[in-house]
């Protein structure tokens, strides 16, 4: 019974991964393609300051986005778990509906909002808050908004699914025993929802390292993330081995982060995605 699954995994998961690793040790050919000479050059090339800086830039954006997503998503998921069953379903529905549209199309929606004399400018100018178009599109804040928008639901669902399962009588017990609201939250609620929060962090931080198309579309291609560098090297520079080496390093970094998460939380499965 399991055989088809094994074959599938080998062909479509392991195969490409091995191909990528092998590719990362080859040399690029003169015009396009690769030659079969073994080299470490591609990995050494990553140490060039300009290419290292794309990793730093990716981390910076991922951290900023994740922190903001926690600040918005944790309270959202927490209060959602306290709603009545009917409203839980409705809220869930409202969160799911945007996913029925292609994420690319939803991003273009943000362009319409952010563009010069777009929806945002019209509202702000009508209210007399600004006098000239803000020109938010193609700036860093626009990219951050796009990242939050794309990844927020993952945090909400992860926190919600832990808070849902929580035994609220424990919080009551803490309060009965004299803990302040804050203390009860910190010692009971936060601890019990920690697995959800951590998996939410993984589910937002890891993809945000790779969601370069958001930076490309809303940031006007000016924020160079590892993902966009890989794309440039592959599609524009035709330097497949270097692109493969970058992809291998990115894969290793994200794997390490997931391993760390497992170690810290002691959980084997990511919360909120089943």
């Amino acid at each position: 019974m399991l055989l088809p699954l094994f074959i599938f995994t080998i062909v479509f998961v392991l195969g490409p991964l091995v191909y990528m690793v092998v590719l990362s040790f080859l040399q690029r050919a003169e015009t396009w393609g690769v030659t079969n000479e073994f080299t470490f050059k591609n990995y050494l090339n990553i140490l060039e300051p300009v290419y290292l800086s794309t990793f730093v830039e990716s981390f910076k954006l991922a951290i900023i986005s994740t922190v903001l997503i926690i600040l918005i998503g944790y309270p959202f998921g927490y209060f959602m778990a306290k709603l009545t069953a009917k409203w839980k379903k409705r809220t869930m529905m409202l969160l799911m509906i945007p996913f029925w549209t292609s994420s690319l199309i939803r991003l273009y929606g943000w362009i319409i909002i952010f563009r010069a004399n777009g929806v945002l400018d019209k509202i702000l100018m009508a209210l007399g808050i600004t006098e000239e178009p803000l020109k938010v599109l193609y700036t860093y804040p626009a990219v951050v908004v796009g990242m939050i928008y794309a990844l927020l639901p993952f945090m909400i669902f992860a926190v919600y699914s832990s808070a849902e399962k929580m035994d609220w009588s424990l919080v009551e017990a803490a309060r009965d025993l004299g803990a302040s609201r804050m203390r009860a939250f910190l010692t009971v609620t936060l601890k019990m929802t920690l697995p959800g929060l951590l998996s939410g962090i993984i589910l937002t931080f890891v993809p945000s390292m790779g969601l370069f198309f958001i930076a490309d579309i809303l940031g006007g291609n000016k924020v160079v993330l590892v993902g966009s560098l890989i794309q440039d090297q592959l599609m524009k520079a035709h330097n497949w081995p270097f692109a493969a080496a970058l992809a291998v390093v990115l894969t290793v970094i994200t794997s390490v982060m997931i391993a760390l998460y497992r170690k810290i939380s002691g959980v084997k499965e990511l919360e909120g995605i089943v």
Binding site: T54, E57, P133, N221, K222, V224, A237, H238
Partner: protein, 353 residues
């Protein structure tokens, strides 16, 4: 009951599609078939129909989406299967080097003299033995004089401080680094690493003026006022100019670069005769003018220039007195290409800070 209706409808659809096939067959096609292999939407349908009408040769139009796909398919077919291919200059150079392209029989193409000599004798086919150009992309600057305070006459004007955060560019780094090379008086195709790095340093000075870098629909940003000036592809210039004729198209003082799409016959084309007839047919000035107005690329047929509608003239034909330098971007060594990619990444990073 519902099921029966659905079945009947499905049946009706099938019958209708057969009927549609039937009408297609009525054109007389005793001249055999010709396989035309190129991108989508390269010719107006009327031109293809008229060719079939005149010669009796039926055209089987097959599409590819990238030059690389075309080369891979042509390699697999060992130069057979296709009769006429239209693709970009640099890939034709590779195809010729691999022996996949047949020499053209110029006696069958008397109208080849109509081709604008500016686009001939280029790196991919120095003696014009294998190809006939079909459309060119010319790198121009387009700007909106109502929002830009300086007169832009060349690439060097883009460095003007008044254009801060007001320029859009495409992401072809050979073209964009090439602007700096041109300002420095160098060739697009220099393989000297120090020169490429110097161009990179020059590009860093341009970074504060760059508001966005993108390939798709950059003309929208120019039209909506997001940017005041842009360096863009010809098809985008066409769309921008049609939407706002007040925009200005600039042929940079430093000289222009361009890319050419060429028609060629593969080495083992089954119907090489038909392919030659097609090239000759397309070179007719009136047919050419019709094609280029549809295609939105620069007219490579000098005799057709005069026939192009005035509305399109300023961006589909070079000015009559054009005498500037021209240079095409060709393939360069792997080291030089890597140096370009690196300074481009440095430049992009700088635009974000």
């Amino acid at each position: 009951m519902k099921k029966i209706i659905a079945m009947l409808l499905a049946l009706a659809l099938v019958v209708m599609s057969f009927a549609a096939c039937g009408t297609g067959e009525t054109a007389k096609t005793d001249g055999g078939e010709m396989v035309l292999y190129t991108w989508e939407a390269m010719f107006p349908q009327e031109v293809l129909d008229a060719f079939t009408e005149e010669t009796g040769i039926k055209i089987n139009y097959v599409n590819f989406d990238t030059d690389e796909t075309m080369l891979a398919k042509l390699q697999a077919a060992e130069g057979g299967e296709y009769d006429l291919i239209i693709a970009d200059d640099y890939i034709i150079e590779t195809a010729i080097a691999e022996g996949l392209v047949a020499e053209l029989d110029m006696e069958k193409i008397p109208s080849v003299g109509n081709v604008n000599p500016i686009y001939q004798g280029q790196f991919y086919d120095p003696d014009d033995k294998y190809t006939v150009p079909y459309g060119a992309g010319v790198q121009t600057i387009v700007y909106d004089p109502s929002v830009v305070d300086v007169d832009i006459n060349g690439y060097s004007d883009l460095w003007d401080a008044s254009l801060e955060s007001n320029i859009g560019i495409t992401s072809n780094y050979r073209v964009m680094n090439g602007m700096a090379l041109k300002v420095m008086g160098e060739s697009y195709n220099t393989e000297d690493i120090a020169t490429i790095e110097a161009a990179g340093a020059k590009m860093l000075e341009l970074a504060p003026n760059i508001r966005l870098i993108k390939d798709d629909n950059i003309q929208d940003d120019l039209l909506s006022g997001e940017i005041g000036a842009a360096v863009m592809y010809t098809s985008q210039v066409t769309m921008a100019m049609l939407a706002n004729p007040e925009l200005k198209v600039v042929y940079p003082d430093e000289g222009i670069g361009f890319g050419v799409m060429g028609m060629f016959v593969p080495s083992k084309a089954p119907n090489s005769e038909g392919a030659h007839k097609f090239i000759e047919y397309i070179l007719d000035p009136e047919v050419s003018a019709q094609c280029f107005e549809y295609l939105g690329y620069y007219c490579t047929n000098k005799e057709a220039d005069a026939l192009i509608n005035d509305e399109y003239k300023s961006f589909l034909t070079l000015p009559e007195d054009f005498s500037g330098d021209t240079e095409m971007i060709g393939n360069i060594s792997a080291e030089a290409a890597e140096a370009h990619a690196k300074v481009w990444t440095e430049f992009k990073t700088a635009t974000g800070n």
